[in-house]
Symmetry: C2
Subunit: 148 residues, 2 copies
């Protein structure tokens, strides 16, 4: 699930940079260094999450569904999840059930891992796609001849 988060953020930052112009999956894939279908898969998830919007047909593509300032990395993280609940998955192991050590251990670990996840979520929530795009612009200004 690792690259999905990075690629999705890549896509969103690119769309923020495009300022309302639809961008095709071919262009996005070329920029992110992956396959257009992979991009469309991620875009599908982002669209279901209400972060982007798509237009079919000639001249179509994907664009942000709301201002880049209103999309945080936490939004992206949650959309790409499958990972968030699994990060410190305590529930998959099947300890001894009822009130024995195994079960109590699970509850205890959940209580202790929680703050770590909360801290990470808070840090992700503090960064918007607009910030990513802006930092990108600044860095791009430092080197000539960029296309995509």
């Amino acid at each position: 699930m690792n690259t999905r988060f990075a690629v999705a953020t890549h896509i969103l930052a690119y769309l923020a940079h495009a300022q309302g112009q639809p961008v095709s999956s071919d262009v996005l894939a070329s920029s992110a260094g992956t396959h257009p279908v992979v991009v469309r898969r991620l875009v599908s998830m982002l669209r279901e999450a209400g972060l982007v919007q798509s237009q079919r047909g000639a001249g179509g593509g994907t664009l942000l569904a709301r201002p880049a300032t209103d999309i945080s990395l936490l939004d992206v993280f949650r959309t790409m999840q499958d990972a968030e609940p699994d990060l410190f998955q305590v529930g998959s192991t099947n300890p001894n059930a009822h009130c024995q050590l195994g079960r109590v251990m699970q509850e205890t670990l959940e209580g202790l891992f929680g703050p770590a996840l909360d801290a990470m979520r808070a840090a992700l929530a503090a960064v918007s796609v607009a910030q990513v795009a802006q930092e990108l612009r600044q860095r791009l200004a430092d080197c000539p001849g960029n296309s995509g």
Copy 2:
């Protein structure tokens, strides 16, 4: 990699509870609800990290290599990593190289994901195995007839 972290913490908490008595991989596996060889695999990693110590032969087993108060969940997390660098793996995608958008995007993302990881690490560093074991004891006191 998810269950590894939880099972490893389980093991360490159990060892802290055992207070210097070597615990066999059979007992640990039974408590954690997994296979003894899986436990030995994890114990191998924990041993390389200097967190535990093992004794072969009859009456042998594993015990903590240092006080439980000196082992944080961050130590466990780092030992079980393979995941830590991959959590927000930005480098696997192969964008357009040189100074183009793809490469700059990587650097930008790394800079923005960093604080999220730092926050999580700080939260994990704040919890020791001793705390886990103590919380376990408290919870176990609330229900009768626990063995393993």
